[in-house]
Subunit: 358 residues, 2 copies
């Protein structure tokens, strides 16, 4: 019987990976249906301070004590450090690893995936080709390397709060509608509402870019500029995000920017996300990013600086940096080439204020 049940694999087990594994693990138990209740979750092995292995702790305590402490992970979610094992029979692969590991992970999985499977990426970030300076999306890497369809889910989903089952929403990018019902079944709950759009590229780009603008909000907040300035930075940054997306691809509807993946994710990130907090601390203390990641973030890396670098390279390649001062300055601050104060001073001359208005 079990061969006919659809198997789900979670590739990744960090903060967000553990939360979504718990969310889906919990949901499949309630669906007396076509899904195999046992979910394998790939976990990069780590030896914890007390000498125990992270996978073993997850499978005995049913909690990711390192990356999502004090939140229960249902017993039907099994952590494994064997990547091939975790995905071998999977029909649905959910990717939630740091974006810098996507290419190597997919290469490793090549030809090991069922041809009928499909993927869903929750990964924030994109790549800029070193030669062509063109954008490459995470979903494209997965799709092209594994030769399976790939959907994308982004939104205002701080992992800890999702684990606490407080209300949130997400946006799912899905080019055709074939897998929408499956994804809706696995993820949609009264306290986790999803909406589907065909604009998978826009959704992914927004999910990556918002970390940079959240950092900009953190910089000005670290300088104690106040709510008016923070709101202006978020608005100007949101406009830059939209303009950036449009350099890549025209959206099917401008509504996409007003979805959870757009304005809501930006707001949540700028209220208290990791990138916001790290940037704020940078502006306040003048400490380096590396130092903040190490001492304040439990070794978790910020996604914003990497994305800022890629965005800078993409815009530089198109000779458009002046049209995107927040993206430009965020990168330059991360590189310690300018002070956060410079970003604040530059707001006054943002191209928004010189462009022709309708």
């Amino acid at each position: 019987m079990s061969t006919s049940l659809k198997k789900i694999a979670i590739v990744g087990s960090g903060n967000w990976g553990s939360a979504i594994a718990a969310h889906i693990g919990d949901k499949v138990l309630q669906l007396d249906t076509e899904y195999d209740p046992q979910i394998l979750m790939w976990c990069k092995e780590e030896i914890l301070d007390d000498g125990s292995k992270l996978t073993e702790v997850i499978n005995t305590k049913h909690e990711n004590v390192k990356y999502l402490p004090n939140k229960n992970i249902p017993k039907n979610v099994i952590a494994t450090s064997d990547l091939s094992e975790s995905v071998k029979d999977a029909d649905i692969l959910i990717f939630v690893i740091p974006h810098q590991f996507v290419k190597t992970t997919c290469e490793e999985l090549k030809n090991q995936i069922k041809s009928s499977a499909f993927a869903l990426t929750l990964i924030k970030g994109f790549y800029v080709d070193e030669k062509t300076n063109e954008l490459l999306l995470v979903s494209e890497v997965i799709k092209n390397t594994l030769n399976i369809p790939c959907l994308s889910m982004m939104g205002a989903n701080i992992a800890k709060e999702v684990a606490d089952k407080v209300f949130c929403e997400a946006t799912i990018g899905s080019r055709d509608e074939e897998h929408n019902d499956t994804v809706r079944q696995l993820i949609d709950r009264p306290y986790f509402r999803v909406r589907f759009y065909p604009d998978i590229e826009i959704i992914e780009i927004l999910g990556a870019l918002k970390n940079v603008i959240a950092m900009c909000a953190g910089f000005v907040d670290g300088l104690k500029a106040g709510f008016n300035t923070r709101a202006a930075v978020l608005r100007l940054g949101f406009r830059e995000m939209i303009n950036f997306c449009r350099l890549y691809k025209k959206e099917s509807t401008t509504d996409i920017y007003l979805e959870s993946c757009g304005i809501a994710d930006l707001i949540a990130s700028a209220l208290g996300g990791r990138n916001y907090n790290g940037a704020k601390k940078m502006a306040e203390t003048n400490r380096s990013l590396e130092d903040i990641e190490k001492k304040d973030l439990n070794g978790q890396s910020l996604q914003g600086p990497g994305t800022a670098k890629e965005a800078y390279r993409f815009l530089e390649g198109k000779n458009l940096l002046d049209q995107f001062p927040l993206f430009r300055d965020a990168y330059l601050i991360c590189e310690k080439k300018i002070e956060p104060k410079k970003l604040l001073d530059n707001l006054s001359n943002h191209p928004e204020y010189s462009q022709k208005q309708q």
Copy 2:
């Protein structure tokens, strides 16, 4: 000579009134130009705790000690309690009084205004006609009663921060372009950027509605729902704001919602505006609005509850309350007809999640 200089009057001297009077008072001193540097500011007389008159304190200490303490008001701004006197020779009238006093104030000023004058309103709020249930805007009341053109300025402009000259922006609604240069001259600064749009109605409606949605954010935050939920409420509320505006009038460009008067003002208000804080306290303490206004807000009234009431009546008249659950629930909470928890529970069934997607 002075007869040829344009005279500016500020009608109102509360928190925002005092800040904009200081802003413009400071600016005209730098324009060696066509403006009379002396600006009259109408101030409803109040006797302070020490027995002194508010107007006299403003004119001697050059500070509105009651509504904008510790911020300097330049000496060329003169407070007067004589409404007629303040506007008699004015070429430019800036209205910044609580919206419930607009009609009576304008009636009092009828036939006292120069026919060549124009007005600029900074007032947040609108009216719903008791009989027809149709919206009536503050700018329309001013325009129709005084028979002069009226522009409107809204944006993320917390008064205290404007007084501190930290960077902010604003959106100005102006049907024709005749007075744009004057308004730009008086208000635009490197740390206060303005943009003009013809959508004066939309700008004003957004400026009023945002207080209600900021309250919704305060309610869920008072219930400790977290950042994801707060972001979802702001997004859903922003969509309701846009849909509400479209019931009244089609915008000339969807960009108007992404201006300072739209998303930025909403964000700033929901970060720490008065309506947000009052609503948060309501949800936390279960105290009444009146009690909070009296004890926590120095007697300043919240604009949100009044706007929620008007919005409710407008939507009820159109039989559309179910399409606007946040506006509906905000009003019902203010009236103590439902608990804030109910608004949170209703998010899950927001019409956004059932409407057909593109």
